[in-house]
Symmetry: C2
Subunit: 396 residues, 2 copies
Amino acid sequence: MTFDGLWDELAPVGRDAGSGGYRRFAWTRTDGELREWFTGEARRRSLDVMSDRGGNLWAWLGDPDADGPGLVVGSHLDSVPDGGAFDGPLGVVSAFAALDALRESGWRPSRPLAIAAFSDEEGARFGVACAGSRIITGALDADRARSLADVDGTTMAEAMAAAGHDPARVGRDDEALRRVGTFVELHIEQGKGLVDGDAAVGVASAIWPHGRWRLDLRGRADHAGTTRLADRSDPMLDLAAAIAKARAAAAEHDALATIGKLAVHPNGVNAIPSAVTAWLDARGPVEADVRKVVAAVGAAAGVTPAEESWTSATAFDAELRDRLARVLAGADGKPAPVLPTGAGHDAGILSAAGIPTAMLFVRNPTGVSHAPDEHAEPADCHHGVRALAQVLENLA
Amino acid sequence: MTFDGLWDELAPVGRDAGSGGYRRFAWTRTDGELREWFTGEARRRSLDVMSDRGGNLWAWLGDPDADGPGLVVGSHLDSVPDGGAFDGPLGVVSAFAALDALRESGWRPSRPLAIAAFSDEEGARFGVACAGSRIITGALDADRARSLADVDGTTMAEAMAAAGHDPARVGRDDEALRRVGTFVELHIEQGKGLVDGDAAVGVASAIWPHGRWRLDLRGRADHAGTTRLADRSDPMLDLAAAIAKARAAAAEHDALATIGKLAVHPNGVNAIPSAVTAWLDARGPVEADVRKVVAAVGAAAGVTPAEESWTSATAFDAELRDRLARVLAGADGKPAPVLPTGAGHDAGILSAAGIPTAMLFVRNPTGVSHAPDEHAEPADCHHGVRALAQVLENLA
């Protein structure tokens, strides 16, 4: 099937009619529909679908257990709340389309090949990004993964069980990883690094160090209409200090810091809150600077930030990176552009686990991502499919 | 039945096992249980239960349509999120207990008498406090009331219909108001005005002017990990400015201002929000000062606050206030203490509509209200019942 046909099939799943964005959260009914779609597309192509101990899906052509580690391409299908259509699905849909194009031309791979869809990459429901790849590499402890809870108090273990994935299986999965000789993830660019050049596709150099922290701000519930200012313990004031400091410290230390998620308790118009929980996302080119930002925000709010996830700087495999940049050279022979990113990806987790890994970025004309109007031009998406096909041809 | 017996009956309804506080929101299943309890207690005492066009409940002894306007005592049964047991129910339970005590002594009222339970006093679900009394006095427009929506998007009209109250009936209800000759609301004090004296019960002088405003802070959804600080439009920064200014302006103008409720969209850890909605509660002894605080908060956040409700200063009926203070005089002949409050009440709405109205406050040892540990000593509650019985005897 063509890229456009596959893309249209997937477009309605998990789309919010109000915002026009996507709400594709891990281990929900919508997630189940995405998994069914993936499995159906794989079976239609006679690929063998396996689910690993993190719930990630692998659709194999050939037998990596018998014939040695294979080449894996893919990405993820879940989204942030009201996310765009491209972040994740573009890599999976492009992988199917690239395989179809190559097979139609009579090509047969010289080594086992898989298309992967990783679980819960965004961490939108349980708060830990790249949960699926972190579980199988051991970067996320199995017991901690099982006990992560969503805003309604449902644990990941409960959500997995409800979706038919045995939570007792959760854990490091060396067998699944041993099958992966090389991993290449194609992804929409989440920034404007490719906008000014003449290339629709670039190659990733590195992922900035990045992490998430939880600030538990405590106060005392009281009546907003009768409690004197002097008698108040209002955690909203600490929140205000944290938000202002996050921006100031990020500017000072040449990093990024964002408070994008809050939970207020009891969240009543005339009740001074007893507690506010704020989540801080911080990243930047230099780890020490990111750490300074987090410490400054904690100090401003009067708490020690609780680290929910942390990923050190990831430099992708240099040899693979340079090879792909050459494979994707333009008509003038100039290698494809090479650029870093502030966004974490499953490719970064696998790279940190020692697997030769690369990423391709498809041009994003506005740079907008994690929002309903995230967009890539169809011509650039088709260019991405051709690039991925060239990579498959070159590496398998 | 005794006060304690009635109190124990009501205690489990809508109690949250986690916080120990109450979640009794208008037109929910829990609200239905409270209404059933009220109706059952009224029928057991051979009172005629009527529901008015705002969904408020009235249990009449005698016929106010035939025998002229009556004396009404009561309060409300709903709560803020994780509210205390006393705010509201104390006035309703005390009314039943006071009537029982008087009837046991052989007393019969000389005029019609009712116990009232007002709908949706806290406005916890739909954002407008005293919604039931505002609807019947016309202070809240019927169409606006019907279209108010809760956080899930359910409108008040839909919620009423689901609870069996025809939303087409909603509106000003002169017939219901004509029956009310005098209204007396007993309520737990929400402050510490009675703590230092030797009286368990006081009489209200006035309610501060108070209101609620909505701040709609807009930004642009973007990826937290890839969008440069300079390219961001992040409404969280406006929220931080609003919170800080609310406290500073309240201190400057001798008023109270609180931001206790927020809605963040999309509320994802790694998404710069596209919108933050914050609700501002502001009150104080002087209306002009309250208005200055609201304007200052709006200016700090770069928006014009949308007024969701406003209640001017309410001075209760002076003659009734002084009469009750004398009726409740201590053994030494000293009148009961008279004190103002920053909290709004249905009594204030009825008073503003021209009905002679008074309030009694029962001592609150910590001043805490709108929180699970809101408390009044049993002896003070019993004192409140006796005070209400004295008022009934004196006025009916």
